[in-house]
Amino acid sequence: MNTRFRRIRRLVPVAVLPLLTLAACGGDDDSSAASDCEVGQVDGDLYLYNWSEYIDPELKDAFAAQYGVEVIEDNYDSNEAMQPIVAAGNSGYDVIVPSDYMVSIMIEEGSIQPLNLDVIPNMSNLAAEFSPPPYDPDGKYVAPYQWGTTGLGVDLTVMGEDTPRTWGLLFDPALSANFDGRITLLNDPRETLGAALKYLGYSLNTTSESELDEAKGLVADAVDRIAAFDSDQYDELLATGETAVAHGYSGNMLFAILELDNADDYTYFVPDEGGTIWTDNMAVPFDAPHPCTAHTFINFILDAENGAALTNWNLYASPNAAAEQYIDPEVLEDEIIYPSDRSKLEFITDTGDFETKFSDALSEAKG
């Protein structure tokens, strides 16, 4: 190796060393920072980074009162906006609430630390299908928080009581004749292309380009028949009559419908071809400043009564089996929140390098 090259080689690592801390962020050891914590111990206030309106303020107050700490909550509106902030380090948060596919990404990148399960005895309250969850096979990184489905909210007065329960309402021009222009789709490549994939009979985690192309074609056709791509206000547009079919999440939809006087005119379902089941989870960032408090909070939420209070408030399904006795019976029986047939539902998993193809496909479908 000639000397000039060697000199440059030595310079580059030094210059790049600070930058490399980005890529190599996270814990390099497998132990939790909370390995010295006791059950119910707190080591400072709780800094919670959560989706909006996902936790009852009274529940936060209850935690604060029980353990003598403050709860400071900040909100984010997407996993992808939360993740770089946490991964960069020094975010200041103790507990975050990533979704399923984001959990596997954060585990792999070391952005979240393994939990000290000894101080979370309530983990045993979780239902069998969530312990461990498929995206955390060792069951030691996250505690599932709430789960739900993605499907279609419809206005029965326009669609009729016996409207076909199919994704074809979005993708089949013949079916959408009398509500053309009154449809919204989620502005999420995985969900929208996923719906098309399910309609075509494929898996929504496919890594086949030809299958994705077919789905892209369906979505591209549908663009002319929809009012908008909307991931945030689809429930309001449905409720005000601007749209008749809304692609969206179970809890949001239900929340909006129940506020109406004519709630019986609306319903939500996951089409027969199947759809997405998603789970949000509590996790602890790799550099959480108060890991003991974080673990205590997770244990608190996993308590049967608290878990039930959570569900009764935000109307999403609880992964907590022990909580079921405390959940309102109406909530338990509601098909929207707790669908009985979950065989055709798939979790969204990260497709690695193929992920960019999904987002490109949606951008291209829009033209």
Binding site: P18, D74, P84, N90, Y93
Partner: protein, 281 residues
């Protein structure tokens, strides 16, 4: 007054354009003010008159906190950005110096950079910078109020500078020379000739800076620390659960606050003018 040289039709056109523009600018504001009193949680549905959202506002410490952070960030960053932006504008328009071209180009970048790119780059920068500071000085800095202000100033300098430069560019440089001829030193010339002349530009730049700071979402989202959320970031994160009329109420209150400030400063100006007249008698 130049108004006299305008033909009546032109004057009519100008007046009606003025009225239409104001109507256009305030139409959504009036709408949201109306709906801030609506009893229905749904937008566009009138649910009967109620002041419950305003009442809720007084109980909602979170919104109050974010308003506080937003206002403080806006004020601090605007003052700094206006000073730095005005000095940049003066330097670029009135002087030749080494590196002028680079500086000129550099000041366009914040205007053309996409928000999200700036957000990502500031996050990375602060992460690296804090790591370096920790390494060198053992000081553990973290994101918060200061990082938000620093980022806001970073883009606002450019906007202030553009507005002030537009002002200076049309200005007669000989006025300052005349002041020098009349034995004013540089500081006096600046204070009594230049500054009053560029004042409208500086004011315009400052107004723009406050607005940009109060409205910034993406950059702030990425460089804020826990507990230093600003109002627009908070509202942004709420949209999935619906923009409740409480947010409308917040907007109305901010409007009323700004109107009060304006009315106050008008009253102050009038008082000064009267005092000036009284003093000169």
């Amino acid at each position: 007054m130049s108004g006299r040289t305008l033909a009546p039709t032109t004057r009519w056109v100008l007046r009606s354009n003025g009225a239409l523009v104001l109507a256009f600018l305030y139409a959504p504001i009036i709408l949201l003010a109306i709906y801030s009193f609506s009893g229905s949680r749904l937008p566009g549905e009138w649910g009967g008159f109620t002041t419950e959202w305003y009442v809720r506002l007084f109980d909602d410490s979170r919104i109050q906190k974010t308003i506080g952070v937003s206002v403080r960030v806006a004020l601090v960053s605007t003052v700094i950005a206006t000073v730095l932006g005005t000095s940049s504008a003066l330097a670029l328009e009135r002087f030749k110096f080494r590196g002028r071209r680079v500086f000129d180009a550099l000041l366009y970048l914040p205007i053309i950079i996409p928000d999200v790119t700036m957000a990502v780059m500031m996050l990375m920068f602060f992460t690296q910078a804090f790591d370096l500071v920790d390494l060198l000085f053992g000081l553990g800095l973290s994101k918060g109020f200061a990082t938000i202000v620093v980022s806001h100033v970073a883009f606002n300098i450019a906007f202030v500078s553009v507005v002030v430069r537009a002002r200076i560019a049309g200005m007669d440089a000989t006025l300052e020379q005349a002041a020098a001829d009349l034995y004013a030193n540089r500081w006096q010339a600046f204070r009594f000739v230049t500054l009053p002349l560029i004042a409208p530009g500086v004011l315009g730049g400052a107004l723009l800076a406050i607005t940009l700071s109060l409205d910034d979402v993406v950059v702030t989202q990425f460089v804020a620390g826990p507990g230093s959320t600003t109002l627009p970031v908070y509202v942004f994160s709420l949209i999935r659960k619906g923009v409740t009329p409480t947010i409308n109420a917040v907007s109305v209150i901010m409007l009323l606050a700004s109107l009060t400030l304006v009315a106050g400063s008008v009253a102050l100006q009038r008082a000064n003018a009267v005092r000036g007249r009284n003093n000169s008698e």
